[in-house]
Symmetry: C2
Subunit: 702 residues, 2 copies
């Protein structure tokens, strides 16, 4: 048995351990008591709503995947009429596996988060620590399922096909699911959130999560489908893409017999250690006696980070891997942390940006917006520079491994390893992130189940910790996506060179992407506009859909007697609102997704691979910029509102509060719909380009 | 006398004609009657305020320029200790000329706009047509002065020094002035505008331009210093930069004796024809009997465009210039028009984006913002693709001129000529643009001079036309800046290659900018963040400064008895507000300007010319994206507010109106401070990079 097989088996083994651990956590959560009748009733609505959405989403996705699978079967990696159809079948099956693995992980996540929410609320009656543990372990099920499924899938596909290219198919499958889950879920959640706020808080002046509001269940469903299933699919996608990029380049390098060697085993070894570290981190997570959930979440992240760095160092030492590659992955980890801290600075209510924005709200909502936009613009600098520096450092660190001949290839592999390093602790990140919507739901259920002010306060504290931690994890996610797509750009060019040789063209013509080539520059400008267009289409979709739901809520208030007044026994038709959010989300996301894919294909057939290279670069650069801007401004406004609500600048009900609420409403689709979907859009575009590179080489106008 | 000398003399001659025409227009405006005492009084305040600002701005600038001149003298184009100091003296003098020529043009523009405003108001008593003519001719003085000064300066510098590199110095001088005038003026104007609105419209409920408001004169001063002097300096800068880029590349090509030849004479010939066309267009401009000022402004633009295309074709035919170069300049002109039309679609109140944003305002200000942001994101696509396509087309059109050896050089020269073509009608564009603040002021003066509702309505119509036309001219300005900086990127690389040869390095190493080079990629990411940071700093500066002015206004309302109530004979201390706007604007802009220059230098010394090349590219790409986003969103919100005010969705005073006003307030610093300043920031960064390329080549860390 060779070294690679050992690591493949180890990876599969640890994936299975992750699944078993997830099953144990699931059982633990399920065993927690939940006797409150009202909570069970509403919790049941939420569970059913989330399942309805997921099933309908998966049905639409199945159609999309079927069409894509046929196209792949016929055309990729090379047209089937050229004779050899085995690689096409491998690619198609890999693609379908990518969608199915990610879908299963999403399904598991949703099914646990929708039972953990009520139990977390009930556990709060025994104190904050058991409640925290219930919320965290619910989220950890998702974390384990996602990372287990992605490592298992990548290992199996690589083992069975032995091909890096087939992995790109798997990755593309994960991306298409992520596009639907993240963008669709993002539209769903903000549709419901906005409609609930507009009709409830603004028109009627009733509190958030008031059970009279027909949109309130849809709002809670949204947290699950957007933040649990959507975010999970997004990170599944990033994680797979970073491994795929590293493996495509690594397997090419291992075949050259250059100094570095061992690239593929290193990738699997580090990925397995990353998952193991996350398992240990999750198992060890507890809230300390000091009762601060934010510290508990962050310290478990840092523990995981430390374990990963130490264990990979040990493995590198024992197994004789290259220290430079270890260095690259550690750079990724460190820069990820730095980006997280920078994002935290701009969204933390103890720091200047949030405080100044809250103060600006005293002068009216226009100043809330202007201040938030300005600080969010500033916030892009550290992350952009951080991603650039980590790419530069990883490149220069690993270039010497390749010697004269393969320096560039090793250098790009180094960048991919920095992304793998940054995403090594993704199991922990997802656990923390999925914790957020569970405790958010718990807060709503505590309110609807009449658990009393004290309990609501506990869930409020847990919820607020979720928001703060989100900033850090989002920083990681955006940074990793940035590095991954840089690596994918390298993978794209290496695909192009391979295809060029097959087509009898000169591979050296595609050694790089010269900005002064007008095709590249044209692609650069067009590509830069796409993330803006994509997020605009999603946000306009949210607006349109929210207006539909507002109409439905008005209808119910009008037609259901006693609902507005809160008469005993009168309940709104929650499912109507869930229906609108579901069908609207799917209707609105398809054009946005299609536009990105179609424009990519159009640019490729117009300007060929050079234009596509520029297009990808423009897409990455402006995508990172806008994703950081949208995520950070949203977080900043959310926390400014909370800061004012804590009693500053007049507190709740003051003019500053009204202005801050407007800022938060603007920020919601920024941070929960548009911002996080950009990652997925970039990955999809990168993969479409890589997969179609042969076609673009063969047929293009210029 | 050789051909070039003929064209130089012709250019200088036509510049002088432009100045004489400007003097005639100035005299004409001055001869218009203005007997209203109150208008003369307030007009005097405005005039004095604008002059105070300009003088203080120029003083600060003089210090900055003195420091820059010393640095240039010592270091550029090559360190003085290397022996040859004549080029350094040429460069320094050219730099100083660039600032002085632009400053003189600005001074002329301000001095006419501040007398034309009152006369336009008084002329409105005789009807809309004489009033229009007075406003337009006032603006045309600025147009003629700017283009005359820029063509004169470029011709003289080129004649005397015979060097393209010295022209970069002239261009850098123009840029440093533009940075101060545009960014400083932008901060000034929005400081006053926001403070006036917050205290007047919002707090007291008194109308715009009410003379009781202490900020009202500063607001009108702001229109002049921001939109007349600032915008003029910006377009002076773009115009000079496009010519400089074309001449640097053209003179290198003319020395090669390749097919194309005649590059430099072509540039001067086309530039002279452009100015001549603008003179004819301005002289012919009248408002037709149908009484629509928008049509009058737009049709004079189209007339100028047609004259330019026809006359350059004739010149090309008669003088035997290359048709391909004519084609490139015509592509620029056509694409400029297309971009203008696209910008118009997103900001015109008869089109969907403005209407939908007005409708969204019914649901509250958050939806005004979300809708505006979304449409403005969408609006970036046509312009980005348009700029990319015109660069691609001009490149491919002109590449054959260079044959095997100089194809790339001619192709880049073609891009520069597309920019020259797009800016050929800049005289007309500035005339139209400077018309805006004059009629805006006239509206204010008509209100303060109690000229009655009918007259105010006439000036309102003229003002609204100014806003609509602005969208088109801004499209031209951004598009031209985009093409110019692409050409400057070419000029930068050609400087680098020249310097590399002098330093004994291999020029072929700097033939292009490979995105896969990690230094380039690092620069790309860092460069993309700079326009965001720059605009954020300006907007935060506006916020801070407006708060200072609001405090001052509150003090006056408190301390000056009878002011709030509008007691006869009580006037506010207008000059205090002007003082605050002036000193604050200068204080706030310096850090933003320095940050862009310092970061450029830092990136250059860290990553060398490759990092700087990537930095410039990132800067251009994200700068164009953000400039389009900020300008178009601002225009869209402004016109949405006007649309609601025209009686739609409840009209003035409705909730939709309040929401639309908030959108407009957000949009003001977007479109008048941050958006238009980005152009200048990009040009400054490009020129700093070109000027310092030798230094970056000699000393850099990586």
């Amino acid at each position: 048995m060779d070294e690679l097989t050992v690591f493949l088996i180890a990876s599969i083994g640890i994936s299975v351990v992750a699944f078993l651990f997830a099953a144990w956590l699931y059982g633990w959560v399920k065993r927690q008591p939940c006797e409150n009748e009202r909570i069970n009733e509403v919790g049941g609505y939420i569970k059913k709503g989330a399942e309805v959405f997921l099933n309908r989403e998966y049905k639409v996705l199945a159609k999309f995947a079927a069409v894509a699978a046929v196209i792949i079967l016929v055309l990729l990696p090379s047209p089937i009429w050229k004779g050899d159809f085995v690689p096409n079948i491998k690619m198609t099956v890999s693609y379908l596996c990518g969608t199915v693995f990610s879908a299963i992980a999403g399904k598991i996540g949703i099914s646990v988060s929708t039972i953990a929410n009520g139990r977390t609320a009930v556990a709060a009656t025994k104190g904050i620590r058991p409640s925290f543990l219930c919320g965290f372990r619910g989220g950890a099920v998702m974390g384990m399922a996602v990372v287990g499924a992605s490592l298992l899938g990548v290992s199996l596909v690589f083992w069975v096909t032995g091909s890096g290219t087939a992995l790109l198919g798997f990755s593309f499958g994960a991306s298409s699911l992520a596009l639907f889950a993240k963008a669709g879920g993002g539209i769903f959640t903000k549709t419901a959130d906005i409609a609930a706020d507009l009709t409830g808080k603004v028109e009627l002046g009733i509190p958030e999560d008031d059970p009279r509001n027909p949109a309130v269940v849809a709002d809670n469903v949204g947290d699950n489908v957007g933040d649990v299933a959507g975010m999970g699919a997004d990170l599944f996608d990033s994680n797979v893409a970073s491994m795929a990029a590293a493996l495509v380049m690594g397997s090419a390098l291992d075949n050259t017999g250059a100094v570095g060697g061992n690239c593929v085993p290193t990738v699997f070894c580090y990925a397995a250690i990353g998952l193991l570290s996350s398992i240990i981190g999750v198992a060890a997570a507890r809230m300390g006696k000091n009762d601060n959930p934010t510290t508990a979440l962050n310290s478990s992240t840092y523990v995981t980070t430390g374990i990963f760095a130490a264990m990979t160092a040990l493995a590198t030492f024992l197994l004789g891997f290259e220290w430079r590659i270890w260095g690259a992955s550690t750079i990724g980890l460190v820069v990820g942390t730095v980006i997280g801290i920078a994002s935290d600075y701009f969204t933390d209510d103890r720091k200047k940006p949030v405080k100044m924005t809250a103060k600006a709200s005293e002068s009216g909502p226009a100043f809330t917006i202007l201040s938030g936009v300005s600080y969010a613009f500033l916030s892009t600098l550290p992350s952009m520079v951080g991603i650039g520096v980590s790419a530069l450092a990883a490149y220069n660190l690993c270039a010497p491994l390749g010697g004269e001949l393969y320096g560039v290839e090793y250098a790009l592999f180094g960048i991919a390893m920095a992304a793998v390093g940054m995403l090594s602790i993704v199991g922990m990140i997802i656990s923390n992130d999925a914790y957020g919507p569970i405790v958010d739901n718990a807060r709503g259920l505590a309110e609807m189940g009449n658990l009393g002010e004290d309990i609501i306060e506990i869930t409020d504290k847990l919820d607020s910790a979720g928001n703060t931690v989100k900033a850090v994890t989002k920083g990681f996610a955006i940074g990793a996506a940035g590095l991954t797509v840089i690596a994918l750009l390298g993978a794209f060019l290496s695909e192009v060179r391979g295809a060029a040789i097959e087509l009898g063209k000169n591979a050296a013509d595609f050694a790089g992407l010269d900005i002064m080539n007008p095709n590249v520059f044209f692609g650069l400008l067009a590509g830069a506009a796409i993330p803006a267009v994509f997020s605009a289409m999603l946000m306009l979709g949210v607006n349109r859909n929210a207006m539909r739901m507002v109409d439905e809520i008005h209808r119910q208030f009008c037609e259901i007697a006693g609902l507005k007044e809160g008469k005993e026994g009168v309940t709104p038709e929650y499912d109507k609102c869930i229906d609108i959010a579901t069908s609207g989300a799917l209707k609105e996301l398809i054009p946005a997704g299609l536009v990105s894919i179609v424009v990519t294909i159009a640019v490729g057939f117009i300007g060929g691979v050079n234009a596509i290279g520029g297009f990808l670069t423009g897409n990455i650069v402006s995508g990172l910029l806008l994703a950081l801007f949208l995520s950070n401004s949203g977080g900043l406004w959310d926390n400014s509102k909370k800061y004012v609500e804590s009693g500053e600048h007049g507190g709740k009900g003051s003019d500053a509060h009204k202005a801050a609420v407007i800022g938060d409403t603007v920020g919601d689709p920024f941070k929960d719909t548009a911002g996080p979907s950009i990652n997925t859009q970039i990955t999809v575009v990168s993969l479409v380009s890589s997969l179609l590179s042969t076609l673009f080489l063969s047929f293009s106008i210029f």
